[in-house]
C-alpha cells in the first residue's frame, strides 16, 4: 500500500509558479533575450505557464521551446524498456540566448545533464539557468538549480508525483512512499 502526502495543493502550486516567474525576471533584470525551454513531458506545461505569467508581468511575449532528452539519456546502453520519442521542438536558434531550462523535479541531475548536452549540440547559448518546481535532493552529478519552487527532502524509496491540469486534471504535488518492489 503506497501512502501519499500532499506537498503542494492547487492554490499553492499557482503561487509557486508566480514566484518563480518573478525570481527569473528579478535575477535577469527583465525578459530581454530570455527564452524558456521546457523538458518534456511536464516541463513543457510548466514552461508554457511560466511564459504566460512573464507575459502578464512584463507585457512581453517570451519564446518557449520543448526539449525531448531521450536520445541523450545515459541509460540507453542498459537496454531498459523502449523510451518513446516525443520530439524536440525548438523553432529558434539557441545560439547567443539566455536559456531558462525548466523541469518539474530535480533528482539525480542526469536528465539535466542530458538536456545540457543536447542544447549545446544545437548551438552556443549565452547562458543556461535551471528552474525546477521541486528539488528533492540525492544528486548524482554536480548539477544545481538557479530557481527552485520548493525544496523537499526525500528518501530514495519515495516518489514525487507532480500533477498538472493539462494532463492529470488538477494541479498538485504528492509525495508517495513506495512499498517493496514498486518504483
Amino acid at each position: 500500500m503506497a501512502t501519499s502526502t500532499k506537498i503542494l495543493d492547487q492554490k499553492n502550486f499557482e503561487r509557486t509558479l508566480i514566484r518563480l516567474a518573478h525570481e527569473i525576471l528579478e535575477k535577469n533584470k527583465g525578459a530581454e533575450n530570455l527564452v524558456l525551454v521546457g523538458i518534456r513531458t511536464r516541463g513543457e506545461f510548466l514552461a508554457k505557464r511560466i511564459a504566460k505569467k512573464i507575459n502578464e508581468i512584463e507585457h512581453r511575449d517570451i519564446r518557449v521551446g520543448l526539449l525531448d532528452i531521450t536520445l541523450y539519456r545515459d541509460d540507453l546502453r542498459e537496454n531498459l524498456s523502449q523510451p518513446i520519442l516525443r520530439g524536440t521542438d525548438i523553432k529558434f536558434d539557441v545560439s547567443g540566448r539566455d536559456i531558462i531550462l525548466i523541469d518539474d523535479v530535480l533528482f539525480t541531475g542526469r536528465t539535466i545533464r542530458a538536456a545540457l548536452d543536447e542544447l549545446v549540440d544545437m548551438g552556443r547559448p549565452a547562458s543556461i539557468q535551471l528552474a525546477v518546481l521541486i528539488d528533492r535532493g540525492h544528486r548524482e552529478l554536480p548539477i544545481r538549480a538557479d530557481f527552485v519552487g520548493k525544496n523537499i527532502p526525500t528518501s530514495v524509496n519515495e516518489k514525487v508525483k507532480v500533477s498538472m491540469k493539462e494532463v492529470d486534471g488538477e494541479d498538485g504535488v504528492n509525495l508517495i512512499e513506495l512499498t517493496e518492489g514498486e518504483s
Partner: protein
C-alpha cells in the same frame, strides 16, 4: 512499445503498430537532421557492420550517415574486395565478423531469404537492406514516411508502382507496407514484368500507364534497366519509354497533379522524364532526406531494444 521483432527483415506481416512506431520515431530524427550538429549520442559504443554483397552506393551511404549520426561505430564490408571471392560462405563471413563483437548488421545480398538466414546464424541484430527480389523494408518505410509527410495519412490513398515489378524488392515491400497501413495499391508495367498471381496480394494490375495515371494519387516509378539477358522480357528501352515512361505530356494529357516518387537512381528520360523528376510534384529529394531519418529511427528502435 518496443517493436515485435528483434530484426528488420521485411514488411510482410509487420503489425500496423510497428510501422506506425517507426514512422512516428522518424519524425523526431527528421528534426535532428535540421540542427547545426546533426548528431546525437544515442548509439554510442554500438558497432554496426554494413555487409553489402551487392554494390549500392546510395543505400549504403544513407545507412552509414544514419549510423554515424547516432554516434555508432561503423564498419563497411563490400563483397568485391573480400573473402567471398575466395569462396567463403555467408555463414562463415558473418560468424567471423560477429566474433569481433559487433551489435548490428545491415546487409544487402542477392539471394531472397538471405537476411532471414543471417538472423539464424548470428546473434546480432539484422537489418535487411535488400535481399534479392524479395524485400527492401527501409525503402518502403521511407516511401511511406514521405507520403505521410505530404498527405498527412496513408489510409485510402492510391499508390501505383510502375516498372519491372517481378524483379523489384522495392515494389514487394511497398505492397506489404502500404496494404497494412490501409492504402490502395496498383502495379503497372509490361505483362512480362508483372509476376504471376500478384493480384492475390490485393493489388490491381494495369498495363497502360494512362490507366495508372487516371487512378493513382501517387506514382512510385521504378528504375528500368536492360541487360542483354533481359531482352527476353523487354525488347528495348525505346519501346519502354514510348509506352510506359512518365512524361510531362502524358501527365498533362491525363492528370497534372499526380505526386511522383522514385527510389533512385533515376534513368533520366527512360522511365521518368527530366522535367517530371525535377518538377513541383516530385518528392524524390525528400525521399532521400527522409531515408536517413527513417533509417535512424530503425537503428534506434532496434539498437536500444531490451
Amino acid at each position: 512499445m518496443p517493436l515485435v521483432s528483434k530484426h528488420l527483415l521485411g514488411l510482410e506481416g509487420m503489425p500496423k503498430n510497428d510501422i506506425q512506431t517507426i514512422l512516428d520515431t522518424a519524425t523526431s530524427f527528421r528534426e535532428v537532421l535540421e540542427r547545426p550538429i546533426k548528431k546525437v549520442p544515442t548509439l554510442q559504443g554500438k558497432t554496426i557492420v554494413n555487409l553489402f554483397f551487392e554494390s549500392s552506393t546510395r543505400t549504403r551511404i544513407s545507412f552509414e550517415l544514419a549510423e554515424r549520426r547516432l554516434s555508432a561505430d561503423v564498419v563497411n564490408f563490400s563483397a568485391d574486395a573480400s573473402s567471398v571471392k575466395k569462396g567463403e560462405t555467408l555463414k562463415d563471413t558473418a560468424r567471423n565478423i560477429e566474433a569481433m563483437k559487433i551489435d548490428m548488421v545491415v546487409m544487402r545480398h542477392a539471394a531472397p531469404g538471405s537476411a532471414l538466414f543471417l538472423s539464424k546464424v548470428i546473434d546480432a541484430v539484422v537489418i535487411n537492406a535488400g535481399d534479392g527480389a524479395h524485400e527492401h523494408p527501409t525503402q518502403a518505410l521511407l516511401d511511406m514516411y514521405t507520403i505521410r509527410e505530404k498527405f498527412g495519412r496513408l489510409e485510402g490513398l492510391k499508390i501505383c508502382i510502375v516498372g519491372d515489378i517481378s524483379h523489384s524488392r522495392v515494389a514487394l515491400s511497398n505492397i506489404y507496407g502500404l496494404k497494412t497501413m490501409g492504402a490502395e495499391v496498383a502495379v503497372c508495367g509490361p505483362s512480362t514484368l508483372i509476376p504471376r498471381n500478384i493480384e492475390k496480394l490485393g493489388v490491381t494490375v494495369h498495363h497502360k500507364i494512362e490507366d495508372a495515371m487516371r487512378w493513382a494519387n501517387i506514382l512510385n516509378v521504378l528504375r528500368i534497366q536492360l541487360e542483354r539477358q533481359d531482352r527476353v522480357f523487354l525488347p528495348s528501352l525505346q519501346e519502354y519509354r514510348k509506352y510506359f515512361a512518365v512524361t510531362k505530356e502524358r501527365l498533362m494529357r491525363v492528370r497534372n497533379d499526380i505526386t511522383i516518387m522514385h527510389p533512385g537512381p533515376i534513368n533520366r528520360d527512360v522511365e521518368l522524364s527530366a522535367d517530371v523528376a525535377d518538377g513541383e510534384h516530385s518528392l524524390i529529394l525528400q525521399q532521400v532526406l527522409n531515408g536517413v531519418a527513417v533509417r535512424m529511427a530503425v537503428l534506434y528502435l532496434l539498437g536500444t531494444r531490451s
